[in-house]
């Protein structure tokens, strides 16, 4: 893995063309809210996230049916090109009041929520070698 300075202001660790950083949103919707929350996420949040450089790799719904009296868990896995892309996403999203307002709304419609970042085990040594 190489560490390089990008032409932008962001520090960058690259790994060829692989998008090796994953951003995962895990949302436990309030009972009966799962389908509507998924639709809103895809219509109102996902386009902006794509503009910030995230690529939506996978959407999962658990259990695999829409519940009206219990919670569905929605999982969204995004990929990010490198640490420079991560900081770009973070800076742009973190300074957009509309993004913060979106998550405030989601938190009101969710029982709980997590966002976390991950890499495959094979990438751990490289990502820590800074």
């Amino acid at each position: 893995m190489s560490v390089a300075r990008s032409s932008s202001m962001w520090p960058t660790m690259t790994q060829g063309e692989r998008r090796f950083i994953h951003a995962i949103d895990e949302i436990v919707a309030k009972p009966g809210e799962g389908k509507a929350l998924l639709d809103d996420y895809m219509a109102r949040y996902a386009p902006g996230a794509r503009e910030r450089g995230l690529h939506l790799e996978q959407v999962l719904v658990s259990p695999p049916m829409w519940l009206d009296d219990q919670s569905n868990t929605l999982t969204f896995r995004w990929s990010i090109a490198d640490t420079g892309g991560w900081w770009q996403m973070r800076f742009v999203g973190g300074n957009d009041p509309a993004v913060a307002a979106w998550w405030t709304e989601v938190d009101a419609r969710a029982v709980s929520r997590r966002r976390f970042f991950a890499v495959e085990p094979v990438d751990i040594e490289g990502v820590c070698d800074v």
Partner: protein, 207 residues
């Protein structure tokens, strides 16, 4: 140690060198134990043009200095903090010709104390994972001035700016772990988005 830090954005940039001299002279008059007054380096963000940091033996000395300092800084935009620094870690007590970095941050009013304690504990572990941080202190602020009611000051020393701009920013313990306390997209966020990130050249360790 009783500390006072000011990040000064000058109304008149030509005043940088004369004001720095005046601050150093005032610090000598008030018998500051340690003094660092230096122009900030490119890459600082809301970090001012001049970074001024002073350490005193007593709160009384520090507060008297702060009172005398205020007229010298009048007319400029100033963010700053008064606090009691306690040594957290010193891997390089003889560090010379390095970089001093300070982050002023504001934890939301009403944040539960357990979350604040966890944020502080995890932040103090950064040097464990990011060896470029040579000396460090995380302190709660007693008195703040500026754009926010600053609650914490996170000070570090590096062998050079590359340690701050490289390993500190690139290591996953920073962006994939600590940053969730700062990121409005993460439910754990407790820190206001407005931060003062300032760094300058350092002749000898002051932490």
């Amino acid at each position: 140690m009783f500390k006072l830090t000011r990040l000064v954005t000058l109304a008149d940039p030509a005043r940088l060198a004369p004001l720095a001299d005046e601050l150093r002279a005032l610090a000598r008059m008030h018998e500051a134990w340690r003094t660092l007054v230096a122009p900030t380096l490119p890459g600082s963000h809301f970090g001012g043009d001049l970074l001024a940091h002073f350490v005193f033996d007593s709160a009384g000395q520090r507060d008297a200095f702060g009172t005398a300092l205020a007229p010298l800084l009048a007319g400029n935009a100033v963010d700053g903090a008064d606090y009691q620094g306690s040594p957290d870690g010193k891997q390089a007590p003889d560090l010379a010709n390095g970089v001093y970095r300070v982050l002023l941050l504001s934890v939301d009013d009403g944040t539960d104390p357990e979350s604040v304690a966890q944020f502080e504990a995890e932040t103090r572990m950064m040097p464990h994972y990011i060896s470029a941080i040579r000396n460090w202190q995380l302190s709660r602020i007693e008195a703040a001035i500026g754009e926010r009611r600053w609650t914490h000051v996170w000070e570090q020393e590096y062998a050079g700016a590359e340690g701050l701009l490289g390993p500190y920013m690139l290591h996953p313990y920073h962006w994939a772990r600590i940053d969730r306390w700062f990121d409005p997209e993460c439910p754990e966020r407790i820190v206001d988005a407005r931060l003062c990130h300032s760094f300058c050249a350092l002749e000898a360790s002051i932490l």
